[in-house]
Symmetry: C2
Subunit: 386 residues, 2 copies
């Protein structure tokens, strides 16, 4: 196993896009190729993350992307792990390079849901649940995460205000992100007064349905050095799961998959979580960010909300979380999300974010990408070497 | 990069199954686990190949399979590359083991289409075409392969009888395969008289829509030796693509992806194609087997039909092709197909097929799995060491 580096990232804006799946994916990939300054001919393959291609009647996206990039002979498989598809695709691109099977690989995630109405989209999303025991019984994701929120409130006394503060922080961050979907400053009061989606979750506790694509190029140390850009190493990757259906679990306030995947990634990186400078966490619903903080060991069980309240997770707090705006406000184009997180890690570490949203002196970032209610979890750690 | 071995394979019967996607996948995986005699806890992850989960409203199959196998914390991503999903999943399982990221990995492919009617299924299959330029214009796969057949006939003088002989041979082989979908002896006359699907292809030139699952376990040399079964090494894997849409291609009688993927796999295996003892080729339509033979270099362009006519590709000919019955008669459960081929290679090499269908003295087998009209191609070479 050899070291591998991210040399370029790209992303479309997240929100409502007029481009097709292939077009969005290619736009993100071209930005990554351009940033890396790499000859596309050096790419030996790609993983395309996509979960809801059926919304556009398009499967088998890989060859379309490779054909459009002018490298049709290079292989590309689609990877799906629900909302963790993006980071799962990134992991396999990394594995191909670090394992010595290729010198450069592309990972690109893409989603398009704006062509379908919200009820249909919620139904499609529910295909990622254990459909026999959850989706088909009416338990779509707002309901499943509401169940997690209820359990957390009951066990730890977490309040609706605690949840709301996560949304307020992430909306605040997204205001400064030019590619963010929701650019709207909101207050705790706004969240509490917003339409109830599934008690105790309200509209502003939930991420939006977004279109979008994001990409990253992984390559060897030698090629990264030759390209001459910043050296950002893939320090650790973790990939794990949890019991698929919520009813099967003994504890609803924690995701096993997060604990296992984070332990793998940190072990590989030879780091403790306290060594990580900033985080992109999977906040599909506000409760998910609190649960992730606790599973990662950033807060003791039940104590994450206090950290948010005290401003520790704000952009310039001790433990910046979702400086991008997170899924909550940057947006959640399902299979693109994990790669959107990698995009943020790379740009923060290399100082390319710039301006008020640029985190200072950050060298090591961790992203956390969850599929469904934790059936799939992927954790990625990038570390700058310059 | 280290050597990796297949230690167990499994498959459901191909055909119409009453089991759900997860059930079929788990049945195939359990057979592979059982044959290998491996503790499922040693499996460090899985790739689940699936292309048409939407037909059952079930995405995110990985966690369902891992939960059912009693290893919910182990990660599993779905891999889709249309009809090449199975071998693509196998490749990534191999890459994870050979690259040193895991000591044992599961690849399992599964499909279920029998719940939907043929027209709807043909429509779903067409999502794997370049839907903008092919599927949405009415060019579903029978039409696309008919175009390839027409081009081949025009260029090389290939006849409808030549195509029919491929079907006759593969049906003959399937008669002896207890897991085959179509068990019906047919004559050239039967093929020629069968319903026209898309001129010049008739019903008996086409593979059936099948349900089914197939699985393989890849592990290290050390674990394979400890398990004590036959030693079957993954000698080579190749993965490539072709221009996505037929209208973009300068030559319709050859798939670039097959040539590139086969060259990769043979180079890795340090073999020429003449060193391979038997083949499982992707015969979704009869014409596809002829094109594959020519692209692999088993026959010069335009000369494959003569080999079939002369019986060279029959079960006990010089170059046995599709002794399993192939997609044509064994069946084609889309994403399971590539792993069904690996299942056949392993069982032939280890002598587990037995009886009249057992090929004699075979040590090295090659499988060839195509997605759509060659947008994805995966080639796998297994070699017995006992």
């Amino acid at each position: 196993m050899r070291d591998a580096y991210v040399v370029g990232v790209g992303a479309t804006p997240f929100g409502k896009l007029d481009t097709t799946l292939r077009e969005s994916a290619v736009l993100a990939a071209l930005e990554a190729i351009d940033q890396a300054g790499i000859d596309p001919g050096l790419l030996e393959g790609a993983f395309v993350a996509n979960a809801l291609g059926m919304a556009e009647r398009q499967g088998h996206l890989g060859p379309l992307v490779m054909t459009s990039l002018g490298i049709p002979e290079k292989p590309a498989s689609t990877i799906e792990a629900a909302c963790a598809s993006g980071a799962s695709a990134f992991r396999e691109a990394y594995v191909n390079v670090a394992g010595g099977f290729a010198d450069a690989y592309l990972a690109v995630g893409v989603e398009k849901v704006s062509g379908i109405d919200s009820i249909t989209a919620t139904g499609y999303f529910a295909y990622a649940s254990d459909y026999v025991y959850e989706g088909s019984c009416g338990a779509s994701f707002p309901g499943l995460y509401a169940t997690i929120a209820r359990a957390h409130m009951k066990r730890f006394g977490t309040t609706e205000e605690d949840l709301a503060r996560v949304a307020v922080k992430n909306h605040e961050n997204a205001l400064l992100n030019p590619k963010a979907h929701l650019k709207k400053k909101i207050s705790v009061e706004d969240v509490l007064k917003s339409t109830v989606v599934s008690t105790p979750l309200k509209m502003f506790d939930a991420c939006p349905f977004s279109d979008g694509a994001a990409a990253a190029i992984v390559t060897t140390k030698e090629i990264a050095q030759r390209l001459g850009g910043p050296m950002v190493r893939v320090a650790g990757v973790g990939r794990a799961g949890s019991l698929a259906a919520l009813p099967d679990r003994s504890d609803l306030t924690s995701l096993t998959g997060t604990k296992v995947a984070a332990a793998q990634a940190l072990k590989q990186a030879k780091l403790g979580v306290a060594d990580v400078d900033f985080f992109e966490l999977h906040d599909c619903f506000t409760i998910a960010e609190l649960v992730a903080m606790e599973d990662l060991g950033l807060a003791a069980p039940g104590k994450a909300a206090a950290m948010v309240r005290d401003g520790q997770t704000a952009r310039h707090g001790d433990v910046p979380i979702n400086a991008s705006g997170g899924l909550k406000a940057k947006g959640h184009p399902v299979a693109a999300t994990g790669l959107g997180q990698v995009y943020e890690l790379y740009n923060q570490i290399t100082g390319k974010v710039g301006g008020e949203r640029q985190l200072r002196g950050v060298k090591t970032g961790l992203s956390h990408n969850v599929g469904a209610t934790g059936g799939s979890v992927a954790v990625t750690i990038l570390q700058g070497e310059n």
